[in-house]
């Protein structure tokens, strides 16, 4: 369960940071964000990534957990970016929220039961 939580949180974090990136919004034809909205997306992205790292540490300890986190972040990030040209902006926002919510639930549940 923590693996799912860690993976989904990493994916959601990347998607949120992607939505906050001005260049990427231009590529996807999305309107530019104001400063406050951009900061909100960035805060959400960073929170998800931090949550993902915490879950990875919880699974495998600080040493192996860090290796696992960096590795899965790289792979999920690459797969996410490779899928983006086909998926488009329509799925981006739902992906962020579903990933963030399920990651938070999974991680919280895992912390509670392990």
């Amino acid at each position: 369960m923590l693996w799912i939580g860690s993976g989904l949180a990493a994916l959601g974090g990347l998607a949120a940071l992607c939505l906050a990136a001005a260049a990427q919004r231009t590529h996807m034809g999305l309107p530019p964000l104001n400063r406050a909205a951009r900061l909100r997306w960035r805060a959400l992205g960073c929170t998800c990534l931090a949550l993902s790292l915490l879950a990875a540490w919880r699974i495998d300890g600080a040493a192996l957990g860090s290796v696992l986190w960096i590795a899965q972040l790289g792979v999920f990030g690459t797969l996410f970016i490779a899928a983006l040209p086909w998926a488009g902006p329509r799925v981006l926002k739902p992906l962020v929220w579903s990933a963030a919510v399920s990651a938070a639930c999974a991680t919280a549940a895992a912390f509670a039961f392990t």
Binding site: A21, Q24, L64, L68, L73, G74, T78, I81
Partner: protein, 539 residues
């Protein structure tokens, strides 16, 4: 003068661009080979199961050295100077036995512990005997020249990574950018950047840790200075307590080895099992039994190795891991993943493929950027590099798949060891032969007047066909087709089949896309003169 000197010096980014380009062109094919073989080596024991059907055995509930290994070792070499046994583990269902009859004569066999009998020689080196050594020594063992070439390539990789970061102008702005569209050059550049930037920690760590593993070889001259003529042997003896006892000349029976293993496992006290049992001078009064701990529980293995007297069972020495060894062990674990962590193993496999994509797209960018210019001036440099690029990337995949197909088609070896060796060599001849054919094909089809994507497309189709053929042959000839392997929980076989089928689909998709791109390029090329004619036509 200072102003003139400042303006004459190339800007850092330009200098790094030059370094990145030429270091890349010179080392890319070797780097692709190292990374591709390393990616296969992540699952080498599983590929071994696929390539050696005789090793798809059940494991005995508990391994006993005295009951399983000792009778076989005595039968193989009763007067050996060394016996060595590795019990079965989560990735290897059989025990490995090693006997050293004399210092220069050794034999390695596999033991089916469930049936307590030796497994017949499979007639194949498998992934652990062929792909893995290819990864770190390029099958060039003489004077360790292969390890040195790999080391130089690793340093070049670090240079490429640093220079790549410097020349990447919009490192963060383009972080999520992948523009797949009509412009193939831009898509290739974006793919190169994405696979480089997102997997940058992996590229750095895997390259650096690879250098750390062979530190004793790369620092050979320093060891020679520090330890004199004895050099590396003296270093190993001091660093790892790797000393060999001298024979006493008095025979003495071995004590029960299982009891010594149990004592060592009890001392580790955290459920760690013995990974290797090494008996020096068995049957001699000075025999020594070393029990090594398994590394399957984490990145850093600081558990000690216990050395017992083989004749009395007394504890002679406890070899403690020093902090320096622990640091090297950490990098070794990060690189080789000796522990059981399937999710991380799959992630490493994916990252290895990502590194291959990064290297191949880098070379492709170089070739495509210069192709038109060289075509106009009649130069052949691009053609040579293009042929090497194709053979060094897709050609290597074709050669690997053809080896897997040959592994199924070559007749099974007879009972004698010579027949098994001939079969294993035949597999390797198929590998290198196919690789050579791939190079010839790439050179022939990369002629400047032909569309640049033709050889890539054709070899991608060959990859798809060979991968499907390998899966079909495995199913037909061993009976363990994908569904049967899945039901029988033969995960190694099912996983290899699954990856091969996924790879076949990916190769077919890439070939289709390359065909579409080639058709578009041809149409645009045909339209260009007509458009130019239209623009210049008198009104």
């Amino acid at each position: 003068v200072a102003v003139v000197m400042h303006s004459a010096a190339p800007p850092l980014r330009k200098a790094m661009d030059y370094l990145h380009t030429w270091a890349g062109v010179l080392c890319t094919s070797v780097l692709f080979l190292i990374f591709f073989m390393g990616t296969l080596a992540v699952f080498m024991h599983e590929i071994d199961r696929w390539m050696m059907p005789a090793t798809r055995v059940a494991t005995a509930p508990a391994f006993s050295f005295d009951r399983h290994a000792l009778p076989q070792l005595r039968a193989l070499a009763p007067d050996a100077v060394r016996w060595y046994a590795s019990p079965p583990n989560d990735r290897q269902p059989y025990a490995r036995l090693f006997v050293e009859s004399r210092p220069d004569e050794s034999r390695d066999v596999k033991l089916d512990t469930a049936k307590n009998r030796l497994i017949a020689e499979p007639g194949s080196e498998g992934a652990s005997g062929f792909f893995y050594p290819f990864h770190y020594m390029l099958h060039l063992p003489w004077w360790e020249v292969g390890i040195w070439i790999v080391g130089i390539a690793a340093v070049a990789m670090l240079v490429l990574l640093v220079s790549g970061i410097v020349i990447h102008r919009k490192f963060f702005a383009d972080f999520f950018t992948l523009r797949i569209g009509r412009n193939a050059h831009r898509a290739t550049l974006d793919l190169h950047n994405v696979s480089s930037v997102l997997l940058l920690p992996f590229h750095f760590v895997i390259t650096f840790s690879g250098l750390v593993i062979f530190l004793a070889i790369y620092l050979g001259p320093a060891l020679w200075i520090a330890y004199g003529e004895k050099g590396r042997d003296a270093y190993y003896a001091e660093a790892y307590s790797d000393t060999r006892p001298a024979r006493s000349g008095h025979a003495a029976p071995l004590v029960a080895i299982d009891a010594l293993v149990a004592r060592a496992e009890a001392s580790w006290a955290d459920g760690t099992r013995a990974a290797d049992i090494d008996i020096a001078l068995p049957g001699d009064a000075r025999s020594r039994v070393s029990v090594y701990p398994s590394s399957e529980h984490g990145l850093v293995n600081t558990r000690p190795t216990f050395v017992f007297s083989g004749s009395t069972g007394a504890l002679i020495e406890t070899i403690v891991v020093t902090p320096t060894q622990a640091v090297q062990g950490f990098f070794d674990s990060v690189h080789r993943l000796p522990f059981v962590h399937w999710w991380l193993r799959w992630v490493y496999f994916a990252m290895g493929l990502g590194a291959c994509v990064m290297i191949a797209t880098g070379l492709l960018l170089w070739v495509e950027k210069r192709r038109a210019r060289h075509q106009r001036s009649g130069q052949t440099g691009t053609r040579i590099v293009a042929a090497i690029a194709i053979a060094g990337s897709l050609g290597l995949v074709v050669a690997t798949l053809s080896m897997l197909v040959a592994n199924k088609l070559l007749p099974a070896p007879s009972a004698n060891a010579w027949s098994a060796q001939v079969r294993a060599v035949a597999e390797q001849i198929v590998f290198f032969g196919t690789w050579t054919i791939s190079l010839v094909h790439a050179a022939w089809r990369s002629r400047t007047e032909a569309p640049s994507r033709v050889p890539w497309r054709e070899q991608a189709w060959v990859c798809a066909v060979l991968a499907v053929l390998a899966v079909m042959l495995n199913g037909a000839l061993t009976g363990d087709h994908l569904f049967a392997a899945f039901v029988a929980r033969q995960w190694a076989v099912a996983g290899t089949d699954g990856v091969l089928l996924f790879g076949a689909a990916l190769a077919a998709w890439a070939a289709q896309r390359l065909r579409g791109a080639a058709v578009r390029a041809a149409t645009e090329a045909a339209d260009e003169p007509a458009a130019a004619l239209g623009a210049n036509a008198p009104r």
